[in-house]
């Protein structure tokens, strides 16, 4: 959906989205990286499993919830990227046994 206007150069880091390595830039949020992917969605809803993507980018809509380094339901628009971070898109409701 979105594209970055400059090459991150020395600020580039690698994060993993559903296991796939992706280039990101220090200082940007995880949600910003998600929106640059071919599949821009971040989670599916607990009610109807419909896909959602970052919407407000300022912490008030909670559409950008993802799992970050094993912790579920993190607001990706409020989380800056870090090298080696693992992001998993969230599917439906969280299972109690997870």
């Amino acid at each position: 959906m979105f594209r970055k206007l400059h090459d991150p150069g020395p600020q580039a880091v690698t994060i993993f989205i559903d296991g796939r390595p992706v280039t990101a830039e220090l200082g940007e949020s995880v949600a910003a990286v998600l929106l640059r992917q071919q599949e821009g969605w971040s989670r599916t809803t607990p009610v109807s499993q419909s896909p959602r993507a970052p919407y407000c980018m300022m912490g008030v809509c909670f559409e950008c919830l993802v799992e970050i380094d094993g912790q579920g339901s993190v607001q990706s628009c409020l989380t800056p990227v870090a090298n080696g971070m693992h992001i998993a898109r969230q599917q439906g409701r969280r299972s109690l046994s997870a």
């Binding site: 206007l5 419909s50 896909p51 300022m58 339901s73």
Partner: protein
């Protein structure tokens, strides 16, 4: 870091930073918590990192002005905790904050809520599809990630922000498919009645006009008086349909649609603290009831910045300083006469900053269709409750928003009603023939942000056993 402070400020935007600098100048210990990773609020998002980059210039002078504010804030001696979420304040005050998965309590004698504004929710069929974002979200992506929509983008709504963003986007080399202007016909007359008061701010008016002219010069298609929007697609936005006041209808391909219909104060924190709010007819939203210093109906809790009523960054700073001056006086660091003297220039700066606001409020007031979306529209994004369901329930025994919330789960999801509260109130009001003000709003309870059991349990580590 001590867990006691004279003053706790929530939010490190223009109001919070200005308040911190002033309070420190009068010798108060100050703690500032903010959910963003760096100071600046939304207007100056990412300013510390972005100021030194080539893209800073095309974001404009009012953005760059944030650099010196952030530097002054960093140097003022306040304890600043970024990436921290406030979720509860108890009387006394004990404020509970989560940072890095751990919760902590901070004791403070006075509190300034400088939590700013959010974009006014704008429900229409398909607004939950990936590819539909707010204009504010796109501007944050431009500022902090130097990112623009890949394809020519559609923009729908009204207000100064879409014009500013489109100007910035063009300067960055982005492409615009068209602007669907939702401002209704006939707004100019009522708005111009407020012109005499706004004459001192002609510069701002000229700035707005120059944005409009730049768009026209760039040949951006502008479709006026749009009344209906519909976003469609399989799992993502693919098509956009719209209808104008004159009945013109069209369907266009779209990958990204950005929407914006003004901003409203974040009132969740004041509501949860029992601060009185009142309906602001001009801005069509609730605002906290405040005295001339920004103190709420709850003693020693203040609200500054756009959370006090929409006024922009230029109004936020004097509001922050006024609150800090009053708190310094209340805590005995400043006598009342000195505080009054220091307040005079702040009051005049505030009044000047607000001079154009009534004109903007009248011109860009929410269109009547905004809160009356078609039945199939999801009003509550989180729990996926439609306008039709709420309408059907609203006529069975005249329930208020809180009863309807219990019946339907609308407002119970993670956003806690931030995206559906006003739509719910309008739907109930329309169905029952009452005023929105009479219908009221959700009762807001802590936690203000979702908290995990693990975070709650971590409080134990902080507090010594009794």
């Amino acid at each position: 870091m001590s867990d006691r402070t004279d003053l706790l400020i929530v939010g490190a935007g223009p109001a919070g930073m200005a308040a911190a600098v002033t309070a420190r100048r009068h010798g108060l210990s100050v703690r500032v918590v903010d959910d963003q990773p760096a100071p600046g609020g939304q207007i100056w998002r990412g300013i510390e990192t972005v100021a030194a980059t080539p893209r800073a210039k095309r974001l404009g002078e009012s953005y760059l002005a944030g650099a010196e504010r952030a530097a002054a804030f960093r140097a003022c001696g306040a304890d600043y905790e970024s990436a921290s979420q406030l979720w509860q304040i108890e009387p006394g005050f004990r404020a509970f904050v989560t940072r890095g998965g751990k919760a902590r309590a901070v004791t403070a004698q006075a509190i300034i809520l400088a939590t700013g504004a959010q974009e006014r929710p704008m429900p229409f069929p398909g607004w939950t599809l990936p590819g539909v974002l707010t204009v504010g979200a796109a501007q944050i992506l431009l500022k902090t990630a130097d990112s623009v929509p890949e394809q020519p983008v559609w923009i729908a709504g009204c207000g100064p922000l879409p014009l500013l963003y489109m100007t910035q986007l063009l300067a960055a080399g982005g492409r615009i498919a068209g602007f669907l202007d939702t401002t209704p016909r006939g707004r100019l007359g009522p708005a111009l009645r407020h012109l005499p008061r706004g004459l001192g701010r002609l510069g701002d008016l000229m700035k707005g006009l120059s944005w409009s002219l730049a768009l026209r010069r760039a040949g951006i298609p502008i479709i006026r008086h749009v009344t209906e929007l519909r976003a469609e697609g399989e799992g993502r936005l693919q098509r956009l349909r719209y209808r104008t006041e004159a009945g013109q209808e069209a369907e266009v391909p779209a990958e990204v649609l950005l929407v914006h219909e003004g901003v409203v104060p974040n009132i969740h924190a004041p509501l949860a603290l029992g601060c009185a709010v009142s309906w602001h007819a001009g801005q069509h939203c609730y605002v906290p009831v405040l005295d001339a210093w920004g103190e709420t109906s709850q003693a020693n809790i203040f609200v500054a910045g756009d959370g006090a009523g929409i006024g922009g960054a230029e109004a936020a700073e004097p509001r922050g300083r006024l609150a800090a001056l009053r708190i310094a006086a209340k805590l005995g660091r400043l006598d009342d006469a000195t505080a009054e003297t220091a307040a005079a220039p702040e009051r005049s700066a505030l009044s000047s900053a607000l001079a154009l606001r009534p004109l903007l409020d009248a011109f860009y007031a929410p269109r009547p269709q905004l809160y009356a979306p078609p039945d199939e529209t999801l009003v509550c994004r989180c729990e996926e409750v439609t306008a039709g369901e709420l309408r059907a329930r609203a006529v069975e025994g005249r329930p208020g928003p809180n009863q309807l919330k219990a019946f339907t789960r609308a407002g119970m999801g993670p956003c806690q009603g931030r995206q559906c509260g006003y739509t719910m109130a309008h739907i109930v009001a329309a169905a029952q023939g009452r005023s929105v003000e009479e219908v009221g709003f959700y009762r807001i309870r802590p936690p203000l942000k979702p908290v995990t059991l693990g975070e709650l349990a971590s409080l134990d580590e902080q507090e010594p056993a009794a």
